[in-house]
């Protein structure tokens, strides 16, 4: 009797393990689609690089000048789950030097490493999933031309159970969604649509500016898009950037564009905390991209702070 029960238990555990393994399997991009990625352009790739904000995590914050492009890993991102250390993404063997475009696209847009492991969503692949094939190809071309830097970044220091990487495969299945977040009016201008592409995609603004479900562990609460959230990387809160009273409703489109370039608000207060890094990247974009982001932020639904 006991032997049968023990056997049944073992079978159940094995089945449970198999189910766990299946539902946490990484979801890669469609192979046929990958084969059709266009050739990349280095100059266009630089624009994508600044929009994507790669250096803010993958290079030390204090780096200036040429050192900004030494992407051997950045400062710790300290969150309630523990500390994340962004890896080396320079074109060295220790970084992405031996990667193919397919592997790069799967990392950026599905959070899957070349070894088939899932990345932690501190890497904002749920936003990058919305990037165009051209932008991914261009970015890859640009990044292969950056200085190759040796060295591996420190491993993440995460608390249990967040250090069980395999579980992320399920997180991705539940929370990765490429659909547009805001249903823009049919008559929206090209400028607003470009802003939507940038904000919901490479600029990944929502990752800080939107609340998360499941006590901060889930996906972004799109019903409260860009209305602010607790600061995942420290104290205080991340502001509401919707056109509400709680947000930036009193700002003109030109005020928003000026802020993204200079860091100065209409009252000449300044950006602070992690936003300073974002401004440095936004300042490198052409003015039409900052204007597009500003136009989108004036067009999205106004929400009160959560």
């Amino acid at each position: 009797m006991l032997k049968k029960a023990a056997l049944a238990l073992i079978v159940l555990l094995l089945m449970g393990g198999a189910v766990f393994w299946l539902i946490t399997a990484p979801s890669r991009l469609d192979r046929a689609a990958l084969a059709n990625f266009p050739p990349g352009d280095v100059a266009r790739g630089e624009r994508v690089f600044w929009a994507g904000g790669c250096r803010s995590c993958h290079a030390p914050a204090k780096a200036t000048g040429d050192a900004e492009l030494l992407l051997a890993g950045g400062d710790a991102l300290v969150t309630p789950f523990g500390s994340f250390y962004a890896p080396n993404i320079s074109p060295h063997a220790d970084g992405i030097g031996n990667w193919t475009l397919e592997e790069f696209a799967n990392a950026m847009q599905r959070g899957v490493s070349p070894e088939g492991e899932s990345y932690y969503p501190a890497f904002p692949y749920t936003s990058y999933a919305r990037m165009s094939e051209q932008d991914i190809a261009d970015l890859f071309a640009f990044m292969q031309r950056l200085p190759a830097v040796a060295g591996e970044a420190a491993p993440n220091e995460l608390s249990f159970p967040f250090n069980i990487r395999r579980g992320l495969g399920l997180w991705v299945r539940l929370f990765l969604n490429k659909d547009p977040i805001v249903a823009l009016d049919e008559a929206s201008s090209d400028q607003v649509r470009r802003g939507q592409y940038l904000v919901e995609g490479p600029a990944h603004c929502g990752q800080c500016h939107t609340a998360r479900s499941f006590w901060g562990m889930g996906g972004l609460v799109t019903a409260q898009w860009l209305s602010g959230a607790p600061n995942a990387a420290g104290q205080g809160g991340i502001p509401n950037i919707t056109p509400s009273e709680d947000g930036i409703g009193s700002w003109a489109q030109s005020d928003i564009a000026y802020f993204l370039e200079s860091g100065f608000t209409p009252e000449f207060d300044t950006a602070g905390g992690s936003m300073v890094e974002v401004i440095k990247n936004m300042a490198r974009l052409p003015a039409e991209d900052r204007n597009a982001i500003a136009a989108y932020l004036k067009a999205i639904p106004a929400h009160p702070a959560p």
């Binding site: 205080g236 502001p239 000449f268 300044t270 905390g273």
Partner: protein, 153 residues
């Protein structure tokens, strides 16, 4: 004579503001209330940065004396600001704990702000082309300091 009109008006307004300010001494601003004092100083900084920014945007015509006032105002704040952070005054303010945890770094940031604004004063720019880079340099301190030493809202 005309050249001095605007600075004279500005100075006059500041003198009046100073007189009104002195009248409201029951507000106990200053060393008695460091949190209020440092917020007040930063608002002055913002006003100076706003004026400098308006000149850069072309909304306010350039005037060498006005440029001096922008730098001098920010330099004054750089000079006095650091004195308003006694131990235990972190409560109820956006001052980041880093100010007390890494005081040498905070000192260095203030010293840089003082030096950058003093460079503007000493250079005494006579046109926008000369003013621009000096103002950008001074104003860059706003964000670099706030990145580390002020908490998000």
């Amino acid at each position: 004579m005309k050249k001095l009109l605007l600075p004279a008006v500005v100075f006059g307004l500041l003198a009046c503001a100073g007189a009104v300010f002195a009248q409201s001494a029951d507000k106990a601003i200053g060393l008695d209330n460091p949190v209020e004092a440092r917020k007040w100083l930063m608002k002055s900084n913002g006003a100076a940065a706003g004026l400098g920014g308006a000149i850069m945007k072309g909304e306010v015509p350039f005037n060498p004396a006005v440029a001096q006032m922008v730098f001098r105002n920010m330099n004054n704040v750089a000079y006095g600001f650091g004195h308003y952070f006694p131990e235990g005054s972190q409560e109820g303010s956006r001052a980041a704990p880093a100010i007390w945890e890494r005081p040498e770094e905070f000192r260095a940031a203030l010293a840089k702000f003082e030096a950058d604004t003093r460079a503007g004063i000493d250079a005494n720019p006579q046109d926008v082309a000369a003013f621009g880079p000096l103002f950008q340099q001074a104003a860059s301190n706003c964000q670099s300091c706030h990145a580390t030493f002020r908490l998000p809202e």
